[in-house]
């Protein structure tokens, strides 16, 4: 019985401190942390269009899948990447 009492005290204290820390952190996060959110994806995209799905893969196939489905470079004009400062687009 003493052993069970010891275990109950040990786990009760652990649970108590865990719960107390959880409650304090939740209150702090709710009241002192404001505006910690970013614009949602739906604001900028109409969603993802899937062109291929493979549900029967094995771990060793992952690289093969990536190689065989590698997206091609776009064949239309895009913004260059470079060290120059971004200037206004002439193409609006």
């Amino acid at each position: 019985m003493a052993f069970i009492n010891f275990l109950a005290a040990l786990f009760g204290a652990g649970l108590g401190f865990g719960l107390a820390f959880f409650i304090a952190a939740t209150i702090l996060n709710k009241n002192n942390n404001i505006g910690d959110s970013v614009g949602s994806a739906s604001l900028y995209t109409g969603g993802v269009v899937m062109t291929d799905k493979d549900n029967a893969m094995k771990l060793k196939d992952e690289n093969l899948y990536i190689i065989s489905h590698k997206p091609k470079k776009p064949d239309y004009p895009t913004v260059p990447t470079g060290k120059g400062l971004v200037e206004r687009s002439r193409d609006q």
Binding site: A8, L19, A20, F21, A24, A25, T26, L28, G84
Partner: protein, 408 residues
């Protein structure tokens, strides 16, 4: 150069509550688009010289080019501006000044979202935010704002295409493997995606300011800057691409992971192409920066000048937090110990002579108790990390200097 009232020749400022230029001297109001000034015509023909063109690309000049000096068109006083500032206030006469050569041609924004949140509203929002916060340090009980500045930040509004092939590792497989793997290839188009063009401001802070309502964007007119500070963009094409790529990947990967719910563990392999289209726009978005000191550290709260969204964390009394957690932990610990002991005794410990099934159930309950304790502590640590991260941004020196370096 200031824009002057055509009725009394005093400097005009943009008044967010009216959405118009306002003369504090005679009370006249003008729509920004209706005000024509010689300075605007002058700007049209002015070419921007880059720093390299003027001083060469010698990096050692960097420290000597901290500020640029212009002359106030109202009083002739010296106006000192730093880095990428475009508009400021004269410290001698208090009149708003826009440095037109800095917004000339190449760097003139296409659009602007004018401030609609007034200075008083911004201050009230912060006061409300602080009054709702808990465990406030003593000096915050009476908020003493050191500085409040309305700054137009440069943003690039981009359209992009993102295509990605990815393999998702999902929990809950067969007896042979505890994971399954799913290949997904797809694309998405991104429209009107705002990217902050200011190096001094961290991406974490600027993304938290979203969303901005882009339908309220107006054609740029420098008169909207009057009475506010503003910066021009100083990011490179590479930085613009990397920021777009990062956000596009985040959106794409979180979307495909959603299909598998909480079982989606990680993206274990991927290949992608992100392309920014050439029709990107340059815009200025309004942000209020409110600075106060607490425990010797500057704290800067950001407010979206269009929607009033607040971004920032309020410091808390760490000693009080520690003691409240310890004391409530002891109280809860005692209560839960008694509760667990009661349950285990009722179910029967091995020595009590009750059946072994009940005894095992009692031991399971103890096990679950400790498991829940650990779970609570883990979730609490994640929440604390979130608050601490935002507090770090709020108290960052970089942000403080971004605001503080301006005159006026």
């Amino acid at each position: 150069m200031a824009t002057l009232c055509k009725n009394c020749n005093h400097a005009l400022v943009f008044e967010p509550a009216l959405g118009k230029l306002y003369c504090a001297y005679c009370g006249s109001q003008f729509a920004a688009e209706d005000v024509e000034s010689d300075s605007k015509k002058y700007r049209e023909n002015e070419r921007v010289l880059t720093r390299d063109e003027v001083f060469g690309d010698d990096e050692t000049y960097e420290e000597f080019l901290e500020s640029y000096v212009y002359t106030c068109s109202e009083c002739g006083g010296e106006i000192s501006i730093h880095g990428t500032e475009v508009s400021t206030t004269c410290i001698y006469c208090g009149n708003p000044n826009v440095v037109f050569s800095r917004v000339a041609k190449e760097m003139t924004p296409d659009y602007i979202i004018p401030f609609s949140v007034t200075r008083e509203q911004a201050l009230r929002y912060v006061q409300q935010m602080i009054s709702k916060s808990v465990l406030l340090p003593k000096e915050l009980k009476a908020l003493n704002v050191n500085d409040i500045k309305g700054i137009y930040l440069p943003y690039w509004v981009v359209n992009a295409n993102h295509e990605e092939a990815a393999v998702v590792q999902v929990r809950g497989g067969s007896a042979v493997s505890k994971y399954t793997y799913h290949g997904r290839k797809g694309y998405m188009t991104i429209k009107n995606f705002p990217l902050d063009g200011c190096r001094m401001l961290s991406d974490e802070s600027s993304t938290c300011l979203e969303p901005f309502d882009l339908s309220a964007m107006r054609k740029f007119d420098e008169d909207y800057l009057l009475g506010f500070y503003s910066n021009s963009s100083d990011i490179t094409y590479e930085e613009m691409y990397l920021a777009t790529e990062r956000r596009a990947k985040e959106i794409y990967e979180s979307t495909i992971k959603k299909e598998f719910g909480k079982n989606a563990e990680r993206i274990c392999a991927e290949s992608h192409q992100t392309a920014i289209l050439n029709d990107y726009k340059y815009a200025m978005f309004p942000v209020w920066f409110i600075t106060y000191r607490c425990e010797g550290k500057p704290n800067t709260i950001l407010i979206n000048g269009q929607t009033g969204k607040i971004v920032g964390a309020v410091p808390w009394n760490k000693k009080a937090f520690k003691w409240i957690t310890i004391i409530s932990g002891i109280v809860l610990g005692v209560v839960l110990t008694l509760l667990l002991r009661g349950i285990v005794s009722a179910l029967g410990a091995p020595e009590t002579g009750k059946d072994s099934a009940s005894s095992i159930t009692g031991q399971f309950i103890l096990g679950f108790g400790s498991l829940f304790g650990m779970l609570f502590a883990t979730v609490a640590s994640i929440k604390m990390a979130k608050v601490k991260k935002l507090l770090q941004l709020t108290q960052s020196d970089k942000m403080f200097h971004f605001v503080k370096k301006r005159q006026g």
